[in-house]
Symmetry: C2
Subunit: 323 residues, 2 copies
Amino acid sequence: MTSYWNDFPGMPESLEKVSGIIQASVASQNPVIAEGLISLFGGDGKLLRPGLLLIASEFGKPQKEDKQFKLAAALEMLHVATLIHDDVIDDSPLRRGLPAVHTRFGKQDAVLIGDYLLSRCFLIAAGYTSPEHAVALAQVISVICTMEIQQNIDRYRADTSIRHYFRKIMGKTAMLFSLACHVGASEAKAPKAVTERLRRAGYDIGMAFQIIDDILDYSGDQDVVRKTLGNDLKAGVVTLPLICALSLDKSGELARATSRESFPQADTEYIIGIVRSSGGIEAAREHAKRYTRRALTEISGLPRGKARDMLEKLTQHLLIRNY
Amino acid sequence: MTSYWNDFPGMPESLEKVSGIIQASVASQNPVIAEGLISLFGGDGKLLRPGLLLIASEFGKPQKEDKQFKLAAALEMLHVATLIHDDVIDDSPLRRGLPAVHTRFGKQDAVLIGDYLLSRCFLIAAGYTSPEHAVALAQVISVICTMEIQQNIDRYRADTSIRHYFRKIMGKTAMLFSLACHVGASEAKAPKAVTERLRRAGYDIGMAFQIIDDILDYSGDQDVVRKTLGNDLKAGVVTLPLICALSLDKSGELARATSRESFPQADTEYIIGIVRSSGGIEAAREHAKRYTRRALTEISGLPRGKARDMLEKLTQHLLIRNY
């Protein structure tokens, strides 16, 4: 589960602790919940959000009762709750290399298991963070939901602006990354300037991460990504590679294939082909690089040490990841 | 919206305040969220949970910044979030006399609108209650989800025990009623003995309420209940009138009609007919009366005054309500 972190000293051990807290927290007398969640959290999740929170917490003081591990667990539980509901919504059959929760237990239980997980996440947030951070977490969830609904409204609308896309991924992903860094540092009583810098770095890392994620839907190796390639595209979700390709493809083929009328019945492989050949992927990568550079600039202003080195390495890893 | 409370001095005005807080809290730039929720909260919800919280708070001291109205709003938002997800799960077309959220916006957005509402509820809980109460709220949500999942596992299993049924409605309904009474009194700094008594009364009221609700699925006047009659039954949800009727019907007809094999294809009207003629409804009403009596005994031990009178009246109303 934590192999992503093998090159980060101490992190695999810390994240094992986080996993243990998650497993204990989702343990339930209900067999559907127990089986559904334990297998899901045992999958190959990268634990990026908890990892970020733990690294950020190292810029402050050690915390009583391993509070940071509990908060890290809450963030991952929130993330997985949104994944479960996303998979219900998108009808996506696989998640983390395993059948999605709704594939195994039906959509009804998947909705409820997601709700259950959200409530467990709040339980930890309310019990272990300051009220402001619990409020901030709730706020981020509101924004995530709003942006997911916006994504539904925008389905099969290829004529979207880059700006609109950035706003959506900010709400969908970057705000939670930003919160992870901010809460980690702030609960560990790191200096205000450091906390603020980490908040901004987390935001940039989240933006880069989501752009790369969206690129992998077009360029990924299906065996490695462990999600169905072209999944967003099939669901009519318009992401950066397509937006970039549309402005690069002078033949108009792509615009025709993704018009409001043809998009819902479009040939996914055909569209992926044009996006690749028109340079849409490279153009999207440039945006990811730009956010990565911004993140690295913020990180270079943080106090030197092991935590800063890890954050820098993590950020550089984002661009070369293939899953 | 608050006509249910017309005979309760001051309550319609107080509940209008609660409605105002809900409307402000769910206001969203997103048109789907705004339209979906504002119309839903504008429907004919009885605002029972917020009403209970407000009555319970009168056993304590007046609160700063009208905190009790905010908490009451949070409870109703939680309740409606669970209704939205329930309707998605049960495929129920109507809610509060209006098309259900998923009927109007699709199941995808209904899942997300429910999540959004849950997050708004937590936002208020984290911002305005003590951490213990925010934790208790999260705990209740976990239990509600667990019991709903249990309900799915138990679909089309008519051979369930009364005890198992009571356990489910405790988790589904009574715990939230109990929390409403407890949080209302406790946040208003009512004496501990009063708070505990209110917690128990809330539990009994919730049990009676859910039993009556389940009876209305068999006996209600569809125009008044504004839900489809036999809705639970069609979904294979086994409730008290059916459980009681099964032990009363000596002919074995009902058992045959609701066996694991025949239940999914059973004729709903036929089953409702046997449940009615066998005395299942009267037997279920006896259980509701028992919980009502228990609630009234608890209430009689509370300090005399307007709040106690209202709680007593509300409890007596439960048994005669037809919606």
